[in-house]
């Protein structure tokens, strides 16, 4: 029955091709590709909405002089059979004494609050998604809208997802009243999830992001040789546009006993000259007593932006200049450990089940052309290279209802 409907749709779409104009032929191709990609094909099992679930998390990051902590509360609830709504309230309380701060300013504390609302609408095997996010801190205000469409096809074995997001940022700077800048961001996402065998699931993601506007940090400065054996500083200057492309492949494999391994690789390139690679391996091991243990190892490396320099030769040497360590050449290693305990598996009141979870990550970052300016009394450029270690905790309780 569904196949017949699909055939009718295909016939209807192909009909204009008898009109042999370039314009109609162009429409014909795109229409067919649209039908093919969205898969007006034989669904054997229906798509479902995400589970009704609430999570209350405390997160903490500590490393390199930066301490960030706060709550994140995420709740999702179905309304009727085809709509699911969700909301997220997230807070970062930040105390910063990073190397940038201690070498050019003084320690500060600030707070960022992020609120998101979203909805998913399910029609047959198609899920339409819409969400809005607002993020506020004293010198940065960001708003973004995300839309997406996800289609389940080929007997529930393939899911194709298309997404688009648009963001609007307003940037100001404490102590620099003349700074009030804007930046617009757009994201284009393509995702494919494919069941390969009864034990292997693979995913492919591609994302292009374009930024336009004021993209640098209004506080950060670069340094340049002052001609008398020392160095001086001036504010960074970034290009007004940035376009990046990222592609990722991931896989999950169910082992002969009840456990899973996962792997992921990602490649990245952008118009600022940064090229990055990431690889991650993970192992998930549940027990019959309700415990789930998880371990992971992740490596990441990147090249520096074309306009990055640890030490410029003169003042305003180039139009664009940066000394952001995240734009330098460096590599990171991350070890992750996690344990979850599932409780009340047979329900309790209106709850179906719950879980308590703690995840810990240790991140080691080694910079290759970013020097530690806390070391003084040496020739500029000969300071030791900077490195940092960070501890990241996620502690949360989840409830399904």
């Amino acid at each position: 029955m569904v196949q017949r409907v699909a055939q009718v749709v295909v016939v209807a779409v192909t009909k204009p091709s008898s009109v042999k104009t370039d314009q109609h032929q162009g429409n014909f191709h795109w229409s067919l590709i649209f039908v093919g990609v969205l898969g007006v094909c034989v669904p054997l099992m229906a798509a479902v909405l995400p589970e009704n679930r609430a999570d209350v998390m405390y997160h903490a990051y500590s490393g390199g002089g930066l301490d960030v902590g706060g709550p994140s509360i995420l709740a999702r609830k179905s309304i009727g059979k085809s709509t699911s709504v969700w909301g997220n309230y997230y807070v970062d309380t930040i105390t910063s004494a990073t190397i940038d701060v201690v070498t050019s300013a003084s320690e500060y504390t600030e707070e960022r609050t992020e609120k998101s609302l979203g909805a998913d609408y399910l029609y047959d095997n198609t899920t339409l998604s819409l969400s809005y996010t607002n993020s506020v801190e004293n010198d940065f205000n960001a708003n973004s809208v995300n839309i997406g469409i996800s289609q389940l096809m080929f007997g529930d074995l393939t899911t194709v997802t298309l997404g688009y997001a648009k963001g609007w940022d307003v940037i100001t700077a404490t102590g620099r009243p003349l700074v009030e800048e804007e930046a617009d961001r757009q994201k284009y996402k393509l995702g494919l999830s494919q069941v390969i065998t009864k034990n292997l699931l693979m995913g492919f993601n591609f994302e292009t992001i374009t930024d336009e506007g004021f993209l640098n940090n209004p506080y950060r400065q670069v340094r340049y040789l002052d001609g008398s054996g020392g160095y001086d500083k001036e504010f960074e200057e970034y290009p007004k546009t940035r376009t990046s492309h990222a592609v990722a492949m991931r896989a999950l494999y169910y082992l002969p006993y009840r456990a899973a391994i996962r792997g992921e690789v990602r490649g990245y390139t952008d118009t600022w000259g940064i090229n990055g690679n990431m690889a991650e391996l993970g192992y998930i091991h549940p027990t019959k007593q309700g415990w789930t243990y998880e371990a992971s190892y992740r490596v990441y490396s990147q090249t520096s932006a074309d306009f990055y320099s640890d030490l410029f030769s003169t003042e305003a040497e180039f139009i664009y200049r940066a000394r952001d360590k995240e734009l330098s050449t460096y590599s990171t290693q991350t070890i992750g450990l996690g344990v979850s305990y599932e409780f009340k598996k047979h329900g309790w009141g209106f709850l179906d089940k719950g879980s308590a979870n703690i995840f810990y990550n240790r991140i080691q970052i080694d910079y290759e052309n970013f020097h530690d300016l806390r070391v003084t009394g040496v020739t500029p450029g000969t300071e030791p290279l900077y490195s940092l270690s960070a501890d990241v905790f996620r502690i949360f309780i989840s409830a399904w209802y």
């Binding site: 196949q3 699909a6 295909v10 191709h29 067919l32 039908v35 898969g39 007006v40 094909c41 034989v42 099992m45 999570d55 998390m57 990051y61 994140s72 995420l74 992020e114 998101s116 969400s131 996010t133 607002n134 973004s144 096809m153 007997g155 529930d156 074995l157 997001a165 940022d169 994201k187 996402k189 995702g191 069941v195 009864k198 034990n199 995913g203 993601n205 591609f206 992001i209 990222a246 990722a248 991931r250 999950l252 169910y254 899973a260 996962r262 990602r266 990245y268 952008d270 990055g276 990431m278 789930t292 990441y300 990147q302 932006a305 995240e326 990550n361 970052i365 960070a390 996620r394 949360f396």
Partner: protein, 72 residues
């Protein structure tokens, strides 16, 4: 060329519509296990992706979770 492309796309669409799943529903027990989920806990994976995005120059293609402002 356009005719050839049209035929190829037609073949793709019609063949796609006739593909039968090679894994029967009764063979999907392992795939349905909660551990076979790329983003088992959205609140946690969203946060760690945010940490990586803040500490790394690369961005995007993180997978199912995430969102937010992508702010600095």
């Amino acid at each position: 060329m356009k005719l050839l492309l049209s035929i190829l796309v037609m073949v793709f669409v019609l063949t796609g519509c006739s593909i039968k799943p090679w894994i029967e529903p009764y063979e999907r027990a392992n795939l349905a296990d909660p551990i076979m989920n790329f983003s088992r806990d959205p609140v946690a994976s969203s946060y760690i992706n945010h940490v990586y995005e803040a500490r790394e120059g690369a961005r995007g293609a993180e997978g199912g979770s995430g969102g937010g402002c992508g702010c600095n």
